[in-house]
């Protein structure tokens, strides 16, 4: 594989650029996309760099087409990806559902923006429900919620591998702030860190005779018999559940003796990290728990953090009205810890918001 980055060095850039470079470093072959704020620069930078590295790009007529062409791209054995936001993410749920049904290893970068509907381009964290369970299926997908440019880079590289290894669609969930912010990160070629990239391979048009040289490549998203659908979905669910422990990621700090645990994801967890340290310095026993994968959710790990800390309260904070909260509640059903919330849809949450909230509920 071509080394794109060369000698690893620190760079200063926006999150969108980091995403485009990460796709290049990961050996992605082609991007299919349709412009939308705040992910535009992923396309801009990919299209600036792609010709120099023999990579492809197609701007389709809308996001439905972008989603389906990505589905086609991966079936032909190409590492294909897309990037979108808001209403584009809504439209792409149909092709994303196809990717779930046919177990297509596509990668989609979502830079969340506000909603509902079409025109709101500002920051928000309101695409959690959509990105985790948006299709007309069972959410058989993997969603990484990043919080820094370094993570955007790292998890895109990891995401391509997760997709091609486990054959589930993978989502990198960022937001308008992460897309536009400028901060340093270290870019690298995966091989230089000992990361082996999974090879892409065609899923259709295979050689040999079916039944003699190989089994059928049965990529299906249409089931006419109820029992057949039941059988397939049950089997996929079992596979997903079995793989979940290998895929699940989280970050946890100061939970050993916490009276209150702050549960946040994405860019808000940066504020939570600062807030917990500040609260600790003031003698308040706050803990930090951040699901990095929202699907599959680190359920056992959060339950364990609650149990070992003996925390009396969780504070779930997000730039949305309860999208993370609903995920958490369904995952830790039965726990008796009291849940407090700080919901600020569209608005960034900073350290002082969290500190004030913690003090008001303790």
């Amino acid at each position: 594989m071509e080394r794109v980055i060369g000698e690893s060095k620190k760079s200063f850039m926006t999150g969108n650029e980091a995403a485009a470079w990460a796709c290049l470093a990961a050996g992605a072959d082609i991007m299919f996309g349709y412009p939308i704020t705040p992910q535009n620069e992923i396309m801009h930078y990919w299209t600036r760099m792609a010709p120099k590295y023999g990579k492809g790009f197609l701007q389709t007529e809308d996001e439905l087409s972008a989603g389906f062409t990505v589905c086609g791209g991966v079936q032909s054995g190409k590492k294909a990806f897309t990037a979108t936001a808001g209403p584009g993410n809504v439209l792409m749920q149909e092709p994303f559902g196809m990717a779930e049904a046919m177990r297509l290893p596509l990668l989609a970068i979502i830079q969340q923006r506000g909603g509902p509907s079409s025109g709101t381009v500002v920051y928000s964290q309101q695409e959690v429900s959509l990105t985790t369970y948006g299709g007309n299926g069972e959410g058989h997908r993997i969603v990484y919620s990043t919080s820094t440019h370094q993570e955007i880079f790292d998890y895109i590289i990891k995401g391509f591998n997760t997709a091609w290894k486990f054959r589930f669609p993978v989502f990198i969930l960022g937001d308008g702030y992460q897309a536009k912010m400028r901060e340093p990160l270290e870019m690298y070629d995966p091989e230089s860190r000992g990361i082996k990239m999974e090879e892409a391979y065609p899923l259709i048009g295979l050689g040999g005779k079916i039944g003699q040289d190989r089994g059928p490549s049965h990529l299906c998203n249409i089931y006419s018999l109820e029992e057949e659908l039941y059988e397939v979905i049950t089997k996929v669910q079992a596979e997903y559940d079995a793989l979940a422990p290998q895929i699940t990621e989280y970050d946890e700090k100061f939970c050993e003796d916490a009276d209150i645990i702050l549960v946040t994801h994405g860019v808000v967890s940066r504020a939570a990290d600062d807030a917990v340290k500040a609260l600790r310095a003031q003698g308040i026993k706050a803990g930090y728990f951040r699901p990095i994968t929202l699907r599959p959710f680190p359920q056992q790990e959060l339950r364990a953090a609650i149990a070992k800390s003996g925390a009396k309260k969780l504070l779930i904070a997000e730039s949305a009205i309860g999208q993370l909260e609903r995920l958490v509640k369904q995952e830790i059903y039965g726990e008796t810890v009291k849940i407090e919330t700080l919901f600020m849809p569209g608005v960034g949450i900073i350290e002082s918001d969290l500190i004030d909230k913690v003090k008001s509920v303790l």
Partner: protein, 225 residues
């Protein structure tokens, strides 16, 4: 410190560069510098791609510092959403303002081309197009890449050497990066009007390559996004 003595004629400068090159910081610092000399200054945010993520959050703060700021505000953009990504009329006619005009040209790819949207730009002989370069940016982190990038910008009259790494800037990063920019400027036969250094590193040992130095106060971190 340079730019201290200016003739009385109007100053019109357009700052172009990649995302995170520091063009907005350079434009703000320059506008404030001129304003502090008692000059009337208009700072124009000419980002036609993403007006919601540019100077907008710190517009009020800059206005308190006596700048006339032309940028999308909440009121301008209310209800427009994505269609708000248009050239606001006050930016289009910015050159009709009295006094100095500092243009912050958003989105680096098209360089000075974006200036064509501004009325009277072709009748402004005092215009200087200044490319802000940061060698910590992947598209401008080697001699070849800088040459390719600057040549693709169209008109450039001068360069600001602004190598930095945000909060993690060190004298070594500035010196090593600017060495490449200095060499590129020599090949391109473009003047480097100054080396920009954050004021926090004023007393550190940064190589300025014998060029003028300007100490910069960072305003953009207050634009929370």
């Amino acid at each position: 410190m340079i730019f201290t003595f200016e003739e009385n004629s109007r100053i019109v400068e357009a700052y172009i560069g990649e995302y995170a090159s520091g063009k907005s910081e350079m434009a703000i610092n320059r506008a404030l510098e001129l304003s502090n000399q008692g000059r009337r200054v208009t700072l124009v945010d000419l980002d036609t791609v993403e007006p919601f993520y540019t100077l907008r959050p710190i517009k009020n703060q800059l206005e308190k510092l006596n700048l006339n700021v032309i940028s999308s505000s909440r009121e301008d953009s209310f209800g427009l959403g994505e269609t708000g990504a248009m050239l606001i009329p006050r930016a289009r006619w910015a050159l009709r303002n009295e006094g100095d005009i500092i243009l912050d040209i958003g989105y680096g790819v098209f360089g000075a081309q974006t200036l064509n949207l501004v009325e009277d730009i072709d009748q402004t002989p005092e215009l200087k197009v200044i490319a802000v370069l940061n060698a910590s940016r992947p598209m401008t982190n080697s001699l070849d890449r800088i040459l390719e990038y600057v040549e693709g910008l169209g008109r450039v009259d001068a360069i600001v050497a602004n190598t930095h790494m945000g909060d993690e800037t060190t004298p070594e990063i500035i010196s090593a990066g600017n060495e490449i920019i200095v060499e590129a400027a020599r090949i391109l036969q473009l003047p480097i009007i100054y080396v920009a250094i954050v004021e926090e590193l004023k007393d550190s040992n940064v190589n300025n390559f014998g060029l003028p130095v300007k100490y910069i106060k960072r305003h953009m971190p207050a634009a929370m996004w």
